[in-house]
Every structure is written in C-alpha cells, then in structure tokens.
C-alpha cells in the first residue's frame, strides 16, 4: 500500500511517499507499526490528535479498516482558503 505524508509530517519523516507491506487491519495499527519502526515516525506521530488521515483520497479516521485500501495519506489539519 502507498503511504503519503504532507506538510510537517512529510518534513519530520523525511519522505513524501513510500510503499509499505503491512497486515495492519486499521489505520491505528498501521501508525503503531510505523512508530515502532524508527524514531522519525515516533516523532511525527507523537500527537495523533494533530494528524488527519485520508484513505484513497477521502478523509477518514484512525479507527477505519484498511481492507482494499491502496493509498493512505497522513497530514496535519488543513489550512486552505
């Protein structure tokens, strides 16, 4: 599955995109796997209340299931307009 990072999440993790092999059933489980992997992920996801998630380009939440999802994106609250 493709995992994308934007804004300060991208800067802290150091890459805009990666392909992740995972059996995580939910977004929360995926985040736990990433956090366990390396310090930079732990830093980026230290406060998940400040992180939003989109599944296949639709806003979602951390409890959502990952079945069939091809693209997961993590980013801070949006500041458009």
């Amino acid at each position: 599955m493709d995992v994308l990072y934007f804004a300060w999440l991208r800067e802290r993790i150091g890459i805009p995109k990666e392909t992740v092999e995972t059996d995580a059933a939910t977004v929360s489980e995926l985040v736990a796997e990433l956090v366990a992997r390396e310090e930079r992920y732990a830093t980026a996801f230290a406060d998940t209340s400040a992180v939003r998630v989109a599944l296949d380009q639709e806003l979602s939440d951390f409890d959502a299931a990952l079945d069939g999802v091809r693209e997961v994106a993590f980013f801070p609250p949006m500041t458009g307009g």
């Binding site: 804004a7 380009q57 806003l59 609250p77 458009g80 307009g81």
Partner: protein
C-alpha cells in the same frame, strides 16, 4: 461550475468578467478572494502544498453540494499551490444565484469547507525562518453552522 487547482497566478477581475454570463435567472453574484497578507512586513513567500488528486475531488464534492443546496446558477472555485508573493491572490470562489441570501450563504459555506476540508497546507517563509500556518479552532467550529 468550474474548479481550477493551479500554480499559476490568476486575475480575480478577469475571472469575474466571464462568470455567470448569459443566465437571465441570476440576480446576485458574490465573490471571495483570499490574498497573501504581509502585516508584519517580513514575509518573503507563502508556500502552499497540496495533495494532487484528492484536492480536486474534495473541492468538486464541496462545490457540488453548494450548487445543489442553494440552486446556484453558476459556481467557480480557484485555488493556487506553490510559491506565492505578498499581495497575490491565493484563491477565489464565486457564486451566482437568484437572490442575495443564497449567493452569500453558498460563498461562505464554500470558504468554510475549503479552509478545513480541502487538502492544502500553508507555510510562511520570512526573512528569519519558515513556519507552517496552524489550523484555527475557529475554522473547525465554522463548519458546525452548515
């Protein structure tokens, strides 16, 4: 209905000139233009990052909802990304409707949703550093009225 996500400079007055033309049931046109401010006088660049693909979808969904809910006779959303200079237009919405209440409400609805639901992130680059613009609680709260 037109939606444009672009890194190019655009001219709000030129956009207004072609908007809602030839529709005899339009009585009211509202536009909103967001402009890069430089109140402190030290801003070099407003850098806007976005999520290509999701951005267009999110805006199309918001605009489609506005068009139906307020029976708009026309609707335009333009949003830039990339590096913007102080004084440049960041984005614009335009709404056309039969009466003023519909045109105003639809424009404010679009703005409230673009602020918090379209995947854009702003970073201010000044003489002395760079900082991501923080989302405001107010902006999230503004959604509750719709």
């Amino acid at each position: 209905m037109e939606i444009r996500v672009t890194s190019d400079l655009f001219d709000p007055s030129a956009e207004l000139s072609g908007f809602a033309k030839g529709r005899m049931d339009t009585g009211a046109v509202v536009t909103f233009t967001g402009v890069v401010r430089d109140t402190a006088g030290d801003l070099k660049t407003m850098r806007i990052e976005h999520y290509p693909g999701m951005t267009e979808k999110a805006i199309a969904k918001i605009a489609g909802e506005a068009q139906t809910r307020w029976s708009l006779t026309d609707c335009l959303v333009i949003h830039r990304y990339g590096d913007l200079a102080p004084g440049e237009a960041i984005m614009m919405v335009a709404t056309a409707a039969g009466h003023r209440a519909e045109a105003f409400e639809a424009a404010e609805f679009l703005m409230d949703y673009l602020k918090s639901r379209a995947p854009f992130w702003k970073k201010e680059i000044t003489e002395t550093g760079a900082e991501w613009v923080a989302a405001k609680d107010d902006d999230e709260d503004a959604l509750s009225r719709w």
